[in-house]
Subunit: 115 residues, 2 copies
Amino acid sequence: MESAFAVIAEPNRRAILSMLSSSERSVGELMHELRLPQPSVSKHLKVLREGGFVESRVEAQRRVYRLNPKPLREVDAWLEPFRRFWSKHVDALEEHLDRMEKEKASSVKGRKRHD
Amino acid sequence: MESAFAVIAEPNRRAILSMLSSSERSVGELMHELRLPQPSVSKHLKVLREGGFVESRVEAQRRVYRLNPKPLREVDAWLEPFRRFWSKHVDALEEHLDRMEKEKASSVKGRKRHD
DNA sequence: CAGGCATATGCCCAGATGGGTATATACGTC
DNA sequence: GACGTATATACCCATCTGGGCATATGCCTG
């Protein structure tokens, strides 16, 4: 599995991560709450493990999985350059005014714009 | 393409989005900067378009693509519950208590092990 | 040590997907 | 309207991946 993005592309894996964000769980608990066959859960957990999203602890016959946030921080970091767009639509007015001003300025003296 | 997550699972598509985050580009510009064959760029753009990540504007024979941040906000929103893990110091206590509780419960009946 | 529970793994299959190539469509120019 | 440019699409193929099933492994109890 290439990247953290590919790992969280799978809906069941996202569900597992969401569950683990509230508290750690055993495979059986995940299996029951997600209503997935056990091999399926184990396979997804393997992908998550190898991607560094989860870690496991042995407790008798059970494996208890807990979240490791590191790979998700990578995703979060990748989003950073896009955050300036979050408020862009809200601030459409401001952007419009900003553009108006630029055009006004350039129409006076023929200044050029850079983009 | 199912979800926004599946769309950004592809490295070239993330590259396109990153490029568009700085400024809009034509297909030819993306093609040149990413060194990808044109059909490949067009196909990725189609996925991005249908996923709502980009919008296009016709300019003579060219199609100029610009970013639409909405689907990325979904991804950002999904990350929200995990952000409390970002600052490990703050939540270390809670996690510790959580673990203590489980150990107490299991130590009553049998042996315990951790790693 | 047998037997049962919890989890992991191996195998096969069907569907999805990205790459590559060829072709279609759209537009602008002469 | 012929031609070149810019982009989209159709087609084929190799690969990957998740689902389902069977089975292996590990641990605990009697």
